[in-house]
Amino acid sequence: MNAKLPVQAVPLCVASDLGEGEARGFLPDEDGQDRLFVLRHDGELHAWRNACPHVDGAPMAWRRHAYLSPDRQHVMCHAHGARFEPDTGLCVHGPCLGQALQRVPLTIDGEGQLWLARTEQTQPIE
């Protein structure tokens, strides 16, 4: 999934809408696949590109927003079953063992709105 991320800041959702152990995809491309997903783990929000490192940019969910393992302890790629630490993005099981997901920078404004941050890091992976 190599669809570009927008370079400008983009509102995603109200940060408190994402509960512990929940994940949600955002900014679907024209094939209906999210460019990124956000999850809450140990209270913190983390955002990752929807792009498994085992195949260049492979989409990871099996259904919209379904990015976590059944026990909700790992991010999971539902192409070949790779599992990742939700807070570091490190692959701990599966075909891309030792590689990592690409982090997407987030900001939360004074009203609790979660944003895709505008930074150099939001350049496309290509």
């Binding site: 024209e30 094939d31 209906g32 696949q33 492979a58 989409p59 990871m60 969910a61 099996w62 259904r63 919209r64 379904a66 393992s69 059944p70 026990d71 790629c77 539902h78 192409a79 070949h80 079953g81 599966g94 075909p95 063992l97």
Partner: protein, 315 residues
């Protein structure tokens, strides 16, 4: 060995409800009187159990596929398989009369007198000018309001194996499979002796920690069914991985989806048939060697209200 094809895939899964709903939305139907089983039109299918179910055989590396059950043509074949495999491994006769053992990669395999129901259903027919086989007048090629589309038959299974030569030798030398084609440095497409289909099994060489299943798939009635059903699957929220397109080896139409089974699940149609006069091809794997073409979906396709000044194809 008159093995006729794969008839049941047995999975042990973490999220039973999600996996069941996925297969129902894919098009399989619950089997009468068998609550664990979901089936295609010819009765072949998938059985779902909890990963912790002690009755399931073990699988390598936490693979959710716990057994692949193949059909055989007659009791003599079943006896021959039992005698052949019992030379160097345990072979169980289960209460239902089927055999259970293990292949040389460590995957559990089963064999049963074929329970595949014969189908007498015309496939997709195209009105090609000059063709003697055409749809009759007023029979439509596309039924817009068509109900659920049920796949016809369990098609094939793709394993990741750490030692391709060893895994291939087991199926070829011990079970009488034929290699139909091969991706150089990757692995063989194989058909059992009792089937003409291009492949029931494809093996992919991979690091040992990846051992498992790449995908499984059912045959649909034609490319229109694959694409119509795949579109509905996407509209229901499922996530496509590759397709729709058409393969070169096997010529089958394909559309691959991510799944809660830890592998891909494909919808396929119109696979080539080969007999034992066929000479296997060998190709380097690449996008061009794998797909004759790849289609893309577009939600908007004609200008109309809301069309931007620079057109619908503008980025």
């Amino acid at each position: 060995m008159n093995i006729t094809g794969i008839e049941t895939l047995v999975f042990g899964v973490e999220d039973l409800a999600a996996c069941r709903q996925y297969l129902l939305d894919y098009g399989l139907e619950p089997a009468a009187g068998q609550p664990h089983r979901l089936v295609a039109l010819d009765g072949t299918g998938v059985e779902l159990f909890a990963a912790t179910d002690a009755s399931l055989p073990p699988a390598p590396k936490g693979c959710q596929l716990r057994k692949c059950v193949m059909g055989v043509a007659d009791a003599a074949t079943l006896d021959a398989i039992e005698a052949e495999l019992a030379r160097d491994r345990e072979v169980l006769r289960l209460p239902d009369g089927s055999l259970q053992s293990v292949d040389d990669a460590g995957f559990a395999i089963g064999f049963q007198l074929s329970r595949r129901q014969p189908l007498y259903l015309l496939g997709e027919v195209s009105n090609a000018p000059g063709s003697p086989l055409q749809r009759v007048a007023n029979q439509l090629g596309v039924q817009a309001g068509r109900g659920r589309i049920q796949p016809r038959s369990l098609s094939h299974l793709v394993y990741f194996v750490p030692d391709v030569a060893k895994a291939e030798a087991f199926y070829v030398n011990r079970l009488g499979f034929r290699v139909t084609d091969r991706f150089d440095g990757v692995g063989p497409f194989m058909q059992p002796a009792g089937s003409l289909e291009h492949h029931s099994h494809f093996l992919i060489g991979a690091p040992a920690f990846m051992q498992g299943v790449e995908h499984f798939t059912f045959h649909f009635g034609g490319p229109t069914e694959v694409i119509q059903n795949g579109n509905r699957f996407i509209e229901a929220g499922y996530q496509a991985f590759w397709g729709p397109g058409r393969h070169v080896f096997g010529s089958n139409w394909f559309w691959y989806f991510n799944s809660p089974f830890g592998c891909h699940v494909e919808m396929d149609a119109d696979m080539d048939l080969h007999d034992n006069t066929w000479r296997p091809r060998v190709a380097k794997i690449s996008a061009d060697a794998s797909q004759a073409f790849l289609l893309r979906r577009r939600d908007k396709w004609m200008p109309g209200p809301g069309t931007p000044d620079n057109g619908d194809y503008a980025a």
